[in-house]
C-alpha cells in the first residue's frame, strides 16, 4: 500500500460557503487528522488570528503541538468603496496549513513558499 500524507486543495468557493467560525473549525479538524491543506484564497487576517487562537486552546503536551501556516502577505485593495468606508479591504492569497510536526517552512518570500512535508511525526 502506498504510504504518504493526505493533501487537500480547497477551492475559494468551498471556503466562501462557510462562516469564519466554520472555516477555522474545518481547518483545525482537518489538520488535527494530519492533513495538509492548500487554500486557494487563504483566510482574512482576522480569521488567521482566530485560527491561531483556537490552535493554542488545543495544544496538548505529547499530542497536538500546533500548526504551521504559510501565506503570502495580503494585498490591500484601496478601492473607491474602501476609501469611502475608511476601511481597507485586504485580498488574502494562497495559504498552506498543516500540523507543525509534519510541515516545515524551508523558505519563503513575497512570491514563493518552499516547504518540507514529512510522513513521520
Amino acid at each position: 500500500m502506498m504510504q504518504g500524507f493526505q493533501m487537500d486543495l480547497i477551492s475559494e468557493h468551498r471556503l466562501a460557503e462557510m462562516t469564519p467560525v466554520e472555516k477555522v473549525r474545518f481547518i483545525i479538524d482537518e489538520v488535527m487528522e494530519g492533513k495538509i491543506l492548500v487554500l486557494e484564497k487563504g483566510l482574512s487576517p482576522s480569521e488567521e488570528a482566530s485560527l491561531i487562537e483556537m490552535t493554542m486552546t488545543l495544544i496538548e503536551p505529547d499530542g497536538f503541538s500546533g500548526i504551521e501556516m504559510e501565506s503570502y502577505p495580503s494585498e490591500v485593495d484601496t478601492s473607491f468603496l474602501g476609501k469611502i468606508l475608511k476601511k481597507n479591504v485586504t485580498k488574502s492569497r494562497l495559504t498552506v496549513i498543516g500540523p507543525a510536526d509534519q510541515l516545515k517552512t524551508l523558505k519563503r518570500d513575497r512570491n514563493m513558499i518552499s516547504a518540507l512535508v514529512s510522513n513521520h511525526k
Binding site: 488567521e48 490552535t55 493554542m56 503536551p61 503541538s65 500548526i67 501565506s71 503570502y72 485586504t90 513575497r110
Partner: protein, 211 residues
C-alpha cells in the same frame, strides 16, 4: 435610582466619552525572542525611569500582556502620551520539548508551554483593542514569518498605524534591509533596543505614526 439621577449619570458618561480622549493604546508585537520586552523596558526607562518586565534568551519569557498607562514621549518638538502594551510572543506552535532543550525539567517545560499558549491567546485578543502596533522583528532572522504576516494583515484590514522595528542591529549578522524589502509598504526603523542604538529616530517615528 431616580429618573433625574439616572439621566444625570448617563449624560455624564456620554459627555466623558465625547470629550475625554483616552491615550492611544499601542501594542508591542512580534514573534518570541524578537526583543519586545527589551524594547518596552527601553521605552519605559527612557521616559518613566522604571521597567516593564524581565527578559531572557529562552523563548516565551513574557507569558502575560503587561500594560503601562500614560507614558509621555517627547519627539519632534511634540509631546505624546501613550498606553504601552507589551504582549507575549505570537506563535502558531508551542512544543514543550523546546523548553527542555534549554535545560528545564519536564514538568516545568509543560507548565511553561501551557502558559505560553495562554499568552498567545491574550496577545491575539489584544489586537482588537489597540490603536496601533509596533511590530518588532529580529533583524538576524527571516522576516517572512506567519506571525508577522498575520499582524500586518490585521492592522492593514483595520487601517491602523503600524511601525516596524528591525531590532538587534548591533549583531553583525543582522540585515535591516531584508526587513525593509519584505514589507516596503510600512515605515521601518532599525534599532538595537539593548544598546539604545538609533532609539531617538524610533521615538521620532512613534510621534509621527501615533501622534
Amino acid at each position: 435610582m431616580g429618573v433625574i439621577k439616572r439621566f444625570k449619570k448617563n449624560f455624564a458618561e456620554v459627555f466623558k466619552k465625547l470629550f475625554k480622549k483616552q491615550n492611544a493604546r499601542i501594542g508591542i508585537y512580534g514573534p518570541p525572542n524578537a526583543g519586545k520586552t527589551t524594547l518596552a523596558n527601553r521605552i519605559l526607562r527612557d521616559w518613566t525611569g522604571d521597567a516593564m518586565g524581565s527578559v531572557s534568551h529562552v523563548a516565551h519569557e513574557t507569558r502575560r500582556a503587561r500594560r503601562r498607562e500614560g507614558v509621555t514621549i517627547k519627539a519632534n518638538g511634540n509631546s505624546l502620551t501613550l498606553d504601552i502594551i507589551d504582549t507575549p510572543g505570537l506563535a502558531t506552535k508551542i512544543d514543550f520539548h523546546e523548553f527542555m532543550e534549554q535545560g528545564m525539567d519536564e514538568a516545568e517545560s509543560k507548565r511553561r508551554a501551557k502558559e505560553a499558549t495562554e499568552g498567545v491567546i491574550e496577545a491575539v485578543k489584544w489586537l482588537e483593542n489597540l490603536d496601533g502596533v509596533i511590530l518588532v522583528m529580529d533583524a538576524t532572522e527571516d522576516p517572512f514569518t506567519q506571525v508577522n504576516v498575520t499582524v500586518i494583515g490585521n492592522m492593514e484590514a483595520r487601517n491602523l498605524p503600524l511601525l516596524i522595528v528591525a531590532n538587534k542591529v548591533d549583531l553583525p549578522e543582522s540585515s535591516a534591509t531584508t526587513i525593509r524589502d519584505a514589507f516596503p509598504q510600512h515605515p521601518m526603523v532599525a534599532i538595537s533596543a539593548l544598546e539604545g542604538k538609533n532609539i531617538d529616530t524610533m521615538y521620532e517615528e512613534i510621534a509621527k505614526r501615533f501622534g
